[in-house]
């Protein structure tokens, strides 16, 4: 996946180690990003008094879905659930045809066009939004 510096996902360096089993991403060259302190991308200005543009997301795997080595991400508020799904699928090296479901509060699957910032406002706690992801429909 090409690096998108202004995407807000704080992607690790694009060289993710290849050749490992499908259920584990090698920690090799993957650099976990420090959470909220890295919320401001270089070169962007945070307007005075504005709430920070990025929010912290904690990703948790459900069932036998592969676990992401980096679980905590700083994500731009306007990133959609679909954008997050695409990123996780690429990070976990799932094929495009495999489905991935994301759940809030372990109870509902938000619409793919839902912005994570709104979900954080309504369902975040302790300064982060916890999202569960699963290859099958965990909570209907």
């Amino acid at each position: 996946m090409a690096e998108e510096p202004e995407s807000g996902l704080q992607l690790p360096p694009s060289t993710v180690a290849d050749g490992d089993g499908p259920t584990e991403v090698s920690p090799g060259t993957v650099t976990p990003e420090p959470p909220s302190s890295a919320a401001v991308s270089p070169g962007t200005e945070e307007p005075a008094g504005d709430s920070k543009k990025k929010i912290d997301i904690l990703l948790k795997a459900v069932g036998d879905t592969p676990i992401m080595k980096t679980k905590k991400w700083a994500v731009e508020r306007t990133r959609t659930i679909q954008g997050l799904i695409d990123f996780i699928k690429k990070f976990l090296k799932l094929v495009a045809s495999e489905q991935l479901f994301i759940y809030v509060n372990q109870s509902f699957a938000p619409s793919p066009d839902q912005e994570v910032g709104t979900l954080y406002e309504c369902f975040g706690s302790d300064g982060k939004l916890v999202l569960h992801y699963c290859k099958s429909q965990a909570w209907g």
Partner: protein, 301 residues
């Protein structure tokens, strides 16, 4: 004296007369006549337009048909938004019928979600219901229900069965005796004049000292541009009109001087800003248990 329950029926049975016309660039074997349909305000486009698809597919070749999608004056219509919301937001100031253009080609991937089957509509609907209950009851009520109750909500909507739907939905409208309302009110506020898809925030139905928050309180807090500045409003001494009288537009009565910039609309009506939010949530929510509120510019008559 009409009952609050009549409001529930009026909301459920609201209809929009619609004219579906095939997009001119679609390839047809013969002339495609427009198709007229009364659309339920509380339902979803892909749930109620099978007849539209059948009608136009009769004059088209199989190879020219892929997923049907709809557009109004150049704006693709999101099937996952309730029909009444789409109309209020985009077409409420235009003359009826609502003129929708039907497409079978060039699906706008950036604007619309795909709808592969009715199951997708069900999944989306149930997810919205669950999200609303997460806000109202920390998901306790929806989680206590059995799978068959969830199914009944969906079947009630799909089959336009008011009693079947409300037999279950009434439980989602209850709250503990010691409280005076839900934990938070499920709402989304839509405007065409901004970039954001909608506004949704945590908002309680009651103030710290137990007063009922009103629609005006909500707008002032989360969407102040929606309402005219203070001093232009009379608060109606007769206060809250809880019966179907409320369904009559009272917009002109709200104001002494000055122009109201915007209409704040739910189900095609403008509720008085003094209306308690808790009451609106219980009576004017869509079947997904959300208040979908449109803020549109005042039409110039």
């Amino acid at each position: 004296m009409t009952d609050d329950k009549d409001v529930l029926r009026d909301v459920w049975f609201g209809r929009i007369p619609t004219c579906f016309t095939l997009y001119q660039d679609e390839i047809t074997e013969r002339e495609a006549e427009p198709y007229y349909l009364l659309l339920p305000r509380v339902s979803y486009l892909t749930l109620v337009t099978d007849k539209v698809k059948k009608h136009f597919q009769k004059v088209m070749r199989q190879e020219d048909i892929s997923e049907m999608w709809f557009e109004y004056e150049g704006t693709p219509l999101k099937w996952h938004y309730p029909i009444g919301l789409l109309f209020d937001l985009l077409a409420s100031s235009s003359a009826l019928p609502w003129n929708i253009t039907v497409h079978f080609k060039s699906f706008p991937e950036k604007d619309l979600l795909h709808c592969p089957s009715k199951d997708a509509v069900e999944a989306h609907f149930m997810s919205c219901v669950k999200e609303a209950d997460a806000l109202k009851h920390k998901s306790q009520v929806i989680n206590e229900m059995q799978k068959k109750d969830h199914k009944q909500l969906w079947m009630g909507l799909q089959n336009d069965r008011f009693d079947q739907f409300w037999a279950i939905n009434r439980k989602l409208m209850e709250y503990p005796a010691e409280e005076n309302g839900f934990r938070y009110i499920p709402f989304k506020i839509y405007q065409t004049t901004t970039e954001r898809p909608f506004i949704q925030k945590l908002f309680r139905p009651l103030t710290a000292d137990g007063q009922l928050h009103t629609l005006g309180d909500l707008l002032k807090e989360v969407c102040p541009s929606a309402i005219a500045p203070e001093g232009d409003m009379i608060s109606n001494v007769k206060t809250f009109l809880f019966a179907t009288k409320m369904l009559i537009l009272h917009s002109k009565q709200h104001f002494l001087d000055g122009e109201k910039k915007n209409q704040v609309m739910i189900h095609g009506i403008e509720p008085m800003l003094e209306t308690p939010l808790q009451w609106l949530s219980e009576h004017l929510s869509y079947p997904d248990n959300f208040l979908h509120i449109s803020v549109v510019p005042q039409p110039t008559d």
